[in-house]
């Protein structure tokens, strides 16, 4: 092809061209000085790849650790040897509890707890019907170790978990211990009798027959199997069921 001949001529002419012929003024020595300076300069050594990898690995490890720390639900650190003792009905006739004599051991896992604490429409905000407090003889409280239970973290789907701040250490108190007063026996009155209103902030805790906190679904199932322990708190007389029995065990935020 003729164009090849033309291109060969172009190639020959261009390759034979010098800077002088092309009219290019080139600072030959200045350029050499620059090049010499660059050659004299010590090459900057890049950090070894292994150090880079190690740094990246450490960074990733740190991120994962932090993520695990923040994402993991806070564990209840209550000591397993803390005990709350249910009143024994046999020894304390003032307290009506349907359980046999049990020692409640608060275990490590308190996730399955129905939290009514945040529910403003629950018991605490419900209108309290007047009831009659029938004084009775004070029941001596055994001077054993005070049961201390840490606030369990609610993990129900409906109630968002509170901020992971350490909750106040709550004391589980028997009703008979309140205010060093004579242990009252609560009876729901059908008539209005003047009395001081006492508002309690309470948490309803369902536990199974192994005294382990359970959630609402498990509770209902265990109720059917007759393996649950039930503490309906302050059920109003109008809501009472025929089989209901008054219970006096509840928890108070101090």
């Amino acid at each position: 092809m003729n164009s090849n001949t033309t291109e060969e001529q172009v190639k020959q002419k261009i390759e034979s061209l010098t800077t002088l012929q092309a009219g290019i003024v080139f600072g030959h020595e200045d350029a050499w000085d620059k090049l010499q300076a660059r050659l004299d300069a010590k090459p900057v050594r890049k950090p070894l790849a292994i150090f880079r990898l190690a740094a990246v690995a450490a960074l990733v490890l740190g991120i994962i650790t932090i993520a695990i720390m923040y994402l993991q639900p806070k564990q209840n650190t209550a000591s397993s040897d803390v005990m709350a003792t249910l009143p024994n009905r046999a020894t304390n006739p003032d307290v009506m509890v349907s359980l046999p004599n049990h020692d409640i051991r608060i275990g490590q896992d308190h996730r399955s707890i129905t939290d009514s604490f945040h529910s403003q429409n629950s018991i605490s905000s419900a209108p309290v019907k007047p009831h009659h407090i029938k004084p009775s003889a004070p029941h001596p409280i055994s001077p054993g170790p005070q049961p201390i239970v840490q606030v369990p973290q609610p993990t129900t789907d409906l109630v968002p978990p509170p901020a992971p701040t350490p909750g106040p250490v709550m004391k589980v108190v028997h009703i008979n211990e309140l205010g060093k007063e004579p242990a009252p026996v609560y009876e729901f009155a059908d008539k209005d009798i003047p009395h001081p209103h006492v508002m309690f902030k309470m948490k309803v805790v369902h536990i199974n027959n192994l005294l382990k906190p359970i959630n609402q679904d498990d509770y209902l199932r265990e109720i059917q199997n007759n393996t649950a322990v039930h503490f309906p708190l302050f059920r109003r007389p109008s809501d009472r069921q025929p089989n209901d029995q008054p219970r006096t065990f509840f928890r108070i935020n101090l």
Partner: protein, 180 residues
């Protein structure tokens, strides 16, 4: 000092040997860079970069007779220029279908001097000029050009043909008589 001894000296970081090779080939390598980069200061910088890379990598160079050094140096310079063009974003070739050869009139370039031809070549658009330089001057094939520029062979051929057509037009405008 012979070329071979200069290369051996360069491998020992001998500055006199380096200067010898620089003096011998700096002009030619600057012309290589000028063909790819229009701007003379850029071409000078690229030429220096090329020599720097050459002296740093000279341990890998095996001297195999006269011409091997020039070929090695040219390759380095071309790579430097292509990297520069890519970095500046001037070498963005749109993929094209190869539409066949454009008929190019053959003729004699006797009436045109080399400087004028260089000006015509450097007047081509970046893509055409690069492919034209690589194909016509350096002697690479379309497959190699496609790999170097990250384009298809068809695009390389198309760019070359368009560059040829423009160059032909420019040569005609310069009063060159074309033989049929």
């Amino acid at each position: 000092m012979t070329e071979e001894k200069a290369i051996q000296g360069c491998k020992k970081q001998d500055r006199i040997s380096q200067k010898f090779l620089y003096d011998a080939y700096s002009d030619g390598m600057l012309m290589v860079c000028v063909r790819y980069v229009k701007n003379l200061p850029d071409a000078e910088e690229l030429m220096l970069n090329g020599f720097f890379s050459f002296f740093r990598s000279i341990d890998r160079f095996v001297y195999s007779g006269k011409g091997s050094l020039v070929a090695w140096l040219k390759k380095i310079m071309v790579n430097e220029c292509l990297m520069f063009l890519r970095k500046n974003g001037t070498l963005r070739l749109v993929e094209e279908e190869y539409a066949g050869d454009i008929p190019v009139d053959g003729g004699s370039l006797n009436n045109i001097n080399a400087g004028e031809i260089l000006k015509m070549v450097t007047a081509l658009p970046d893509g055409y000029r690069t492919v034209f330089n690589l194909f016509v001057i350096e002697g690479y094939g379309h497959k190699e050009i496609a790999a170097m520029l990250g384009i298809t062979e068809g695009t390389s051929k198309s760019q070359l043909n368009k560059g040829r057509a423009i160059l032909q037009q420019l040569i005609k405008q310069n009063g060159c008589y074309y033989e049929q």
